[in-house]
């Protein structure tokens, strides 16, 4: 077992944890977006509320959800460790530093990650916490379901009627976009998945993902603020 501990405390082992948890979260974001796009269905929230009920009651999804929370925390913790160790390894700074062609995002992953973590706390406080741990949400009946479900749909509409929160969400998503701009392809490089044919494709996919997925999420607060108000 010592070899395994040695591996996960080695530089490349730690990076592998960043890469694998990052890829899991990249996968999660797509599922999360596909589910949330049901908020755009114009049926007074029936589709979305039924979906939210399923997501909070299906045992398999519950297990995956706890895995997801764990991976977010592990990714954040390991990111913090990398940042602090790398800062110490660099030691002093240059008086003048003109960087060659490297992306701004790649040098600021820790800052971007911290902002995203702060955003996740705000975001989960708005919806996840209120849904699971309070009785603030009204109960509604849905045709074809025996039980009453919590009206998360109205909570979303209320949240996104607040311009400050809409702006906070847009900033959070822009931050996510920059983080993914570097993170997506970086995860593959860390795994050693590098190939003259496929690396450019992964790079292109990563950039498309970094733009399209946050944009997809951004449609929701904008739609509620400008169209549904």
């Amino acid at each position: 077992m010592k070899w395994l501990i040695n591996f996960f405390t080695s530089s490349i082992g730690r990076k592998l944890i960043m890469s694998l948890t990052g890829l899991f979260l990249i996968l999660f974001l797509v599922i999360h977006l596909l589910g949330n796009l049901q908020l755009l269905v114009d049926d007074g929230g029936v589709t979305f509320n039924a979906y939210a009920y399923m997501m909070t009651h299906n045992p398999l999804i519950k297990v995956v959800a706890y895995g997801n929370y764990f991976f977010i925390l592990l990714h954040a913790f390991m990111g913090f460790l990398l940042w602090s160790k790398n800062k110490a390894a660099k030691g002093s700074k240059y008086a003048v530093r003109s960087d060659a062609k490297v992306s701004w995002a790649s040098k600021n992953m820790a800052l971007l990650g911290t902002l995203i973590l702060a955003f996740i706390f705000i975001h989960m406080g708005d919806f996840w916490f209120k849904m699971k741990f309070t009785d603030q949400l009204a109960m509604v009946s849905i045709e074809g379901m025996d039980v009453q479900v919590k009206d998360l749909y109205t909570q979303v509409a209320t949240t996104f009627s607040n311009p400050l929160l809409v702006v906070a969400y847009l900033i959070g998503l822009a931050t996510l976009s920059f983080h993914l701009w570097h993170g997506f392809q970086s995860a593959f490089q860390t795994l050693g998945l590098n190939h003259p044919k496929y690396t450019p494709i992964i790079g292109g996919l990563g950039k498309a993902y970094a733009i399209l997925v946050p944009l997809g999420f951004a449609i929701i607060p904008l739609y509620y603020f400008f169209v549904m108000k």
């Binding site: 530089s11 008086a95 060659a100 860390t190």
Partner: protein
């Protein structure tokens, strides 16, 4: 051409160090090191201590002429060592800032000279390459594909100057270690011990206090031998393979 030089001066490793400004008159055809020689001549004439900097071959292959010039290791031109950088790339009246490599694993010895023996210890950790002695083998007895030979050669051009570490915001030595691991792992002769080599070299690299690679790519951009970070991906594969596949 008249230049203003801001040079990092530091007595020894304990000294805090700081910038000193000098006026130098140089010729456009001089190399950067020759311009530094002119500065040192004038300092010696004035009974001042000349600027300590490392240099050896002055033809771009030894990897000792290490300085960060205007914020770029080996200066503004890509694929060029400091000794091959010529003053014609600067303009009359320019201010040039010259600093040593900065990384905790490369402590400053004096002025622009840093201690890069941590690199030697990474190389030592790589161990030996099995070579069967006896009669010289036939030149064509081990067939190697041209592309593979080319890739190995590209990795082998690493001169171990440390510009990758100097350029890296994380102070990581991954490009250096990756180049050394790659140029042997790609060839059949070096493949024999490649798994053990990757594991030991990474362990030593970590122990020496280098940072962790976050795939920024600043190393590749500032490497005077233009070594690709594809080698880092190969090192990642080699290392993971050696931990999970090896004994």
């Amino acid at each position: 051409m008249k230049l203003k030089l801001k040079v990092w001066r530091q007595q020894n490793n304990k000294d805090k160090g700081g910038f000193q400004t000098y006026d130098v008159v140089a010729e456009e055809h001089m190399s950067f090191l020759e311009m530094m020689d002119v500065l040192n001549e004038s300092l010696i004439e004035k009974q001042e201590t000349p600027v300590a900097f490392e240099h050896d071959c002055r033809e771009g292959i030894c990897g000792s002429c290490n300085m960060v010039i205007n914020g770029r290791p080996h200066g503004p031109n890509s694929g060029t060592t400091t000794c091959q950088l010529h003053m014609r790339f600067f303009k009359d009246g320019d201010t040039i800032v010259v600093e040593p490599w900065r990384s905790r694993a490369f402590p400053v010895i004096k002025d622009l000279v840093v201690n890069r023996s941590s690199f030697d210890r990474i190389i030592q950790a790589g161990g030996y390459v099995s070579v069967n002695t006896g009669q010289a083998p036939d030149g064509n007895s081990i067939p190697i594909e041209k592309d593979i030979a080319g890739e190995a050669m590209d990795a082998a051009t690493c001169i171990g100057c440390g510009a990758c570490v100097a350029a890296c915001p994380n102070g990581s030595a991954m490009l250096f270690t990756a180049a050394k691991v790659s140029h042997l792992a790609l060839m059949p002769q070096g493949k024999v011990e490649s798994s053990r080599r990757a594991k030991n070299m990474v362990a030593t690299m970590d122990k020496e206090g280098f940072g962790m690679c976050s795939n920024i790519g600043a190393c590749e951009a500032d490497c005077p031998k233009e070594i690709s970070i594809d080698n880092i991906a190969r090192l990642n594969r080699e290392y993971v393979g050696s931990v999970f596949g090896g004994a």
